[in-house]
Amino acid sequence: MYGLSLLKGLGVTMKNLVSPGRMFTVHQYPDRKIGLMGLARLNNQNPVAFTLSKPGQAIKAMVGLASVRDRQYQHPRFRGEEFSWYENRCTGCASCAKYCPLGIIRIVTDPAKTDLQEGDKYFLEVFDIDIGRCMFCGLCVEACPYDALHMGSGFEEGRYRRRDLVIDKARLVESPKRPSHWFRPQLADKEEYNPLEGDEADWREVHRHEKPTISDQRSRWGQR
């Protein structure tokens, strides 16, 4: 009453300004500012020893100019850009292209270069994914019968031109093979694999079922 609640509101905002416990609900990305204590802890030294060993960095940290890389927590099932595609697993069946609701996957295969009688797979001439129009529904990944296409884990794929957003075959081959766990229970079951850290996943590791060994196959043939 009488405008006193206006003053109360001013008090609330001032409390937010001055009290240090209420600061910064913001996660800083891609790097965060770090003070002297934090920098010394990162280098496994106590602050005094760190200041003596690297005075330049210590002064920068004290002034507030030092920063370290910081990544936000990211779920392993995150559906990222840069699809992880395994050329060795892909047969060129173009299921992904057929299932894509936006029709942004373009596959051109050349049967002339393959010997299908020998069980060879299609030779892929073109494999383009236009992630500028992709909505990351993941239907292509669900459709892939050979677990060759996986969602990636990256997201820093900003480009200056639209045409750079088209991922072609060369980029798919070169891109880091860090498939997301999304729709790939075989990856989630493996405890040691995390798409964000550790080694890249080999094409042999991303299958859905255990691959029969040679002896298994021989014995199975023998039973027939």
Binding site: G3, L10, T13, N16, L17, V26, G64
Partner: protein
Amino acid sequence: MSFHVQYAGILDFKSIYDLVAGLAPEGMSWAAFTVAAAILALIVINALVMSTALYTWFERRVLGRFQNRLGPNRWGPFGLLQPFADILKLITKEDTTPEEADRWVMTLAPIALLVPTLIVAAVIPFGPDSFLGRLNIGILFVLGVTSVNTIAIFMAGWGSANKYAMLGAMRGVAMLVSYEVPMALAVVGVVIMSGSLALFDIVEAQTVPYILVQPLGFLIFVAAASAEMSRTPFDQIEAESELGSGYNTEYSGIKFALLFLAEFMAPLINAMIITTLFLGGTRGFDPIPGQAWFVLKTFAVVFALLWVRATWPRLRVDQIMGFAWKGLFALSLVNIFAVAIAVAILQDETGAIAAGPLWIMVAVNWAIAAIGIVLTAKALGQRKLERETPTPSPLANMYAEAD
């Protein structure tokens, strides 16, 4: 206090004039005056633009702290270079004009908004001997020139041929015209007390800062000034949640940069005027020069305005107009009456008021301010919503009767 004299002497604008006049030959004092005035105007305008750039950083940073976030902190130490990055971005962006826009009006509007803001700085006394123009009708000049930005905002809204811009501009004109009345009336109290329209005389007359003598006038002036520069809680002109961005919806590139500059320079200029009128301007105790006092007080006012902006929500259009005409207008008339009667009774033969009666006046005016605010709040404040007892529906007992 030789240290003080030297230190303040460097900051005085008069010493620059003396320097130029010493270089000019005999009988060429007009040329010396012209050159010195050009130099000083250049200094003041650049200082204003620069401090506006830093103020945008300060505002965004402090507003961020108020709202538990960081504000710009990427570019430069603590994000200090952010305004320069912004300016570069705005300059290099494409300057688009809508096809149906009134091209001339739209182009002139940012200039018409920026120039009055800059011109006001000419009469503000930054220090005991630091002002560009020693104008004897300073405060009248300020009130007259700042009212030009009403036209500028309407030009921007009209010229962009955009419905949102037009709506924002029309709201803006209604609001700015209304709030000029209490603003001018609040200034009248100051003028009665000091007996002069000149800003340097008003500063001279403030043996006690007028915020103590006329708290009501101060509050009215701050409210009206923050409406004049269209900041929250009075930012109807560019109400983001209602109008897109209001009158500057269609602006981009360098034109938007000018609008932005004028918009962010307004708090600084208004804080300077408030400092001059109510906080004693350049007065202070001695080892610190008057210019430093001026900057300190301005900074305090700017921070207070920022604090208000961070806290209070936007008012509705009818609430804003009602507050101007029913609340502030009446209160400013009360303020004028109180000050005029007190001055008529308490002043001695020379027209000045001695220290003892002045403190009596302070007490009386604070009491009047408190009573006035309480009464206004009672008259304007939102009543508790009392719901009528609902009349029972004729169908309510339909089934009961059937049973």
